[in-house]
């Protein structure tokens, strides 16, 4: 589940961010009657088009793994967090047809309507984490799940009354815009398009700067509301004593790589304003994905060994694990599956290389 979550988060960060940038520049192209901006929007959209389906597939992988291997957890989510799941599903249902319609109607319908379609496409993407992030937040600081575990009644929207949720959602939104921005910067830099880099750079840099405000606030909130998670991230002393702080090294890597990204982002941004492509611009996108993935690892991993974190500890992972079969019996199949998942990543990377770098389009 960890691998699938990491791949999924890495890829969706690209698609959600580039979707927003595409929609904005498609609209600005129409408003200013600027052919270059339209081309820019198309090139950002190409990144989304190549990545979207494959990223969605990894969402399905997470679902199957969760339902099959963490059956109790899924059964609980399907009850307690039914509403957030439905919200995310509606987002998916709108998002993918909107992408297809946006692609096909480009140049075929009037630009204003096409721009509106672009915003539907972009904003529906943000509905997906609006739903699914409630699952992550509610197992870190249980609200609806807390009521459920205490045998108290809970409401359909209770997960949204968690203050951690909104911080996590904001953290996510800024992250995906920044990753999308950095990826567009990288693609423009690879094309040698300084103007494109200049346009995309603020989308990479500004949300990243805001993350350095939101991130510490999120951490502070964890300190008060989920001390176990907070300790797992920052208590180096506990790590040294072997009593906790398991994710302090991973958190350190994440913070250092985020700082490195900020440094690169600053260079890219300041050079871009002068019309120069910074040599690091080509690699910023990949580093941004790494930071997003590292963030997800520390965010989800820091609950270990609990699946649901409670004040006094939590519900351990094995309490939701599938004991209905002897997992050892399916272990060889799991290994084969993992190998094929890796192979699919290789095939996708080859396809993305041909589509984005070599510019093969059928």
């Amino acid at each position: 589940m960890g691998i699938s979550l990491i791949v999924h988060v890495g890829l969706v960060s690209v698609t959600l961010g580039t979707g927003l940038i595409t929609a904005i520049y498609r609209y600005l192209a129409y408003k200013n009657n600027d052919i270059y901006l339209e081309t820019f929007a198309r090139r950002a959209f190409r990144l989304l088009a190549v990545t979207e389906l494959f990223s969605g597939v990894w969402g399905t992988v997470i679902t199957v793994v969760m339902a099959g291997f963490f059956t109790g957890l899924f059964a609980m989510f399907a009850n307690v967090l039914f509403t957030p799941i439905v919200i995310a599903l509606i987002g998916i249902m709108i998002r993918i047809p909107a992408i297809a319609a946006f692609w096909y109607t480009w140049g075929r319908i009037d630009p204003f309507r096409h721009s509106i379609l672009g915003f539907v496409m972009a904003l529906s993407g943000f509905m997906i984490p609006l739903g699914f992030r409630a699952l992550m937040s509610d197992i870190t600081v249980p609200t609806a799940i807390g009521s459920f575990l205490d045998n108290r009644p809970f409401g359909a929207f209770d997960a949204y009354f968690s203050s951690l949720y909104w911080n996590l959602y904001l953290h996510t939104v800024l992250a995906v815009i920044s990753v999308g921005g950095f990826m567009v910067v990288s693609i423009m830099a690879l094309d040698g398009d300084a103007k494109g880099v200049k346009i995309a750079a603020p989308y990479a840099f500004i949300p990243l700067m805001l993350q350095f405000v939101i991130g510490p606030l999120y951490l502070l909130q964890l300190h008060f509301e989920a001390p176990y998670v907070f300790n797992a991230l920052v208590r180096v002393d506990q790590l040294l004593q072997g009593s906790g702080g398991l994710f302090t090294p991973a958190f350190a890597v994440k913070v250092i790589s985020a700082l490195a990204l900020l440094w690169i982002g600053t260079k890219i941004y300041s050079d871009a304003k002068k019309g120069v492509i910074n040599p690091y611009a080509k690699y910023g996108g990949f580093l941004a994905i790494f930071v997003a993935v590292a963030g997800e690892i520390v965010n989800s991993g820091s609950r270990y060994p609990y699946m649901v974190v409670l004040d006094s500890g939590g519900k351990r992972i094995e309490e939701y694990f599938n004991y209905y079969i002897n997992i050892g019996d399916v272990f060889p199949a799991v290994v084969v599956i993992l190998l094929f998942l890796v192979l699919s990543l290789v095939v996708f990377t080859v396809a993305a290389y041909y589509a984005l770098i070599r510019k093969f389009v059928a």
Partner: protein, 543 residues
């Protein structure tokens, strides 16, 4: 309950449309690419490129509707999670291979088409197709387990004396029977039990052979039957698309494309009813006694030498009606308690397990244990009987539409490709038709036959699934689990307002998806121009 069942059926059907095209279109595309490789005729490459656009949009729609169906089934019917975690785990986990590889290879095919040799494109497309079929194999295997729960051995027979045994006993009969009784006695759905922390560990292993689902003969026949049907339907829809283009333009270029599709389609449509369909019927007769009675409209046992010969290999064998099974129920004078004891489950064990799961059994346990199995058996037969007319007529309508499809395929094949004996006969029939109906010409006749093929086979497929799914009712897992036992505990998930909203969403997405496919497919030249423009824009932007 019926509304939510209908909603699930709607979602699955809509997904089925796109799945059929996903499985059928590559057949046509491989034929085109092969002919392009052999002849170098650009006609075939142009057609492949259009089909690629259609396939990619269709695949996206299939993925969305698949996500909707997957989430829909698991969130609205979360009791099925027990199946997902046991018998269905291996196939669903293996399906991940199929799905991820399918997408990765499709993207690779799209971006490399026309840039690598036709042979390589065939290789990538064939690999994509193989994984798409693999996905179909695994999903059909899971569905087949609901039809004939292979590995439960005599458990269903313990409740319904007319049921067969379903393979070896690979499941823990004690735990299954105990869970069923506890659910009934506590009045809780399976979700309410499964969602508790530590429940899986408390219940423990329920399945000893995680690959049992793939060892079912019913599953393998279903796989062959359903996948072949999907390929035939998908290829028929592609055929109709190009037949319409031929009708609209009269361009002989389309005849070449139609000929490339009709030959493999003819072969498959002859194999399907004669070999695979027949075997499917034999499996239904063997493992779904009530479904077979519904299909035959047999309220009472009857004799039909031809059908009996086909079904049992013996013309004198009776076709058992529901009366026969009712008689067996009447004679089955045992209580639930005795059935439970026969697999080693006693009241103490039930109370202990109930207590560990945190469920209140109280006085209801006695009531459940003292229930006469005969009453349950008869009540379920009655529930099945209520669906008899629908299943019976749907089945024979299905046979009629399949025959129409096959005849039209043979006729169109004989028109487009030289087939000894048959082509001269069809040619003669053609001349008579033109003489009798002056408004009919070759273009309209080709379109008519293609339409008969597509609608004939699509109707067959839709009705076939209807018979398969409705025919297994009143159970979700044949002979074992009712829909009420697996439905969500979330009140509003089954409310009319939510069902209406979900139905609207499903219809809106699917109908606009179908409209988009037709729109794209009917604008071949515009598409080529559009693709060219996009490429030019991208390249000019890059420079």
């Amino acid at each position: 309950m019926q509304a939510i069942l209908n909603l699930s059926a709607l979602g699955v059907y809509m997904h089925g449309v796109f799945v059929s095209i996903t499985l059928g279109l590559p057949l046509a595309m491989i034929s085109f690419l092969y002919l392009y490789m052999k002849t170098g005729d650009e006609t075939y490459m142009k057609a492949t490129k259009l089909a690629t656009v259609v396939l990619s949009i269709n695949f996206a729609l299939g993925a969305i509707t698949g996500t909707l169906v997957e989430f829909g089934l698991l969130t609205v019917w979360p009791g099925t999670l027990l199946v997902v975690a046991s018998t269905a785990l291996a196939p669903l986990a293996l399906e991940l291979i199929a799905f991820t590889m399918e997408v990765a290879l499709l993207i690779l095919f799209i971006v490399t088409l026309g840039r690598v040799s036709a042979g390589k494109s065939i290789g990538i497309l064939a690999a994509y197709w193989a994984f798409a079929l693999f996905s179909g194999i695994l999903i059909t295997a899971v569905n087949s387990w609901q039809q004939a729960p292979w590995g439960v051995g005599p458990i269903a027979k313990a409740l319904y004396p007319y049921m067969p045994e379903y393979g070896p006993l690979a499941m823990d009969a004690q735990k299954l029977v105990a869970l069923k009784i506890i659910a009934l006695a506590s009045g809780e759905s399976l979700q309410a039990i499964l969602q508790g922390a530590g429940v899986a560990e408390t219940i423990g292993i329920v399945l000893n052979d995680p690959f049992i689902i793939l060892k079912s003969p019913y599953a393998w026949v279903s796989i062959a039957h359903n996948l072949l049907a999907a390929i035939i339907v998908g290829a028929s829809i592609a055929l109709l698309g190009w037949a319409y283009r031929y009708y609209a333009t009269g361009n002989p270029y389309y005849i070449k494309l139609l000929a490339a599709i009709i030959v493999p389609l003819l072969a498959l449509s002859l194999v399907q009813p004669t070999i695979v369909g027949h075997e499917m019927a034999v499996q239904v007769v063997k493992y779904n006694p009530t479904k077979w009675a519904l299909i035959e409209g047999a309220e009472k046992t009857k004799y039909s030498p031809i059908k009996a010969l086909l079904a049992y290999g013996d013309p004198n064998h009776p076709i058992y009606g529901l009366d026969h099974y009712a008689k067996q129920c009447e004679e089955y004078k045992v209580t639930v308690r005795e059935v439970a004891l026969s697999v080693g489950v006693d009241e103490k064990m039930l109370r202990d397990l109930g207590s560990k799961l945190g469920l209140q059994l109280d006085g209801r346990l006695d009531a459940v244990l003292n229930t006469q199995v005969r009453d349950l058996c008869l009540a379920d037969l009655e529930k099945a009987r209520e669906r008899m007319d629908k299943v019976h007529y749907a089945y024979y309508l299905k046979i009629g539409s399949a025959v129409t499809g096959v005849i039209a395929t043979v006729a169109l094949a004989a028109m487009l490709v030289r087939i000894p004996v048959l082509s001269p006969i069809v040619s003669f029939a053609e001349s008579i038709i033109y003489r009798l109906f002056s408004f009919v010409n070759r273009r309209s006749l080709v379109l008519l036959l293609a339409a008969l093929i597509a609608f004939g086979f699509a109707t067959t497929s839709v009705l076939g699934w209807y018979v398969r799914e409705v025919g297994r009712k009143p159970w979700t897992v044949y002979g074992l689990v009712y829909p009420e036992e697996v439905v969500s505990v979330v009140d509003y998930a089954t409310s009319p307002a939510f069902v209406a909203f979900a139905a609207f969403l499903i219809l809106a997405i699917n109908l606009s998806g179908v409209a988009a496919l037709v729109f794209v497919a009917s604008r071949a030249d515009e598409i080529s121009e559009s693709v060219k423009k996009i490429i030019e824009t991208i390249r000019s932007g890059a420079e």
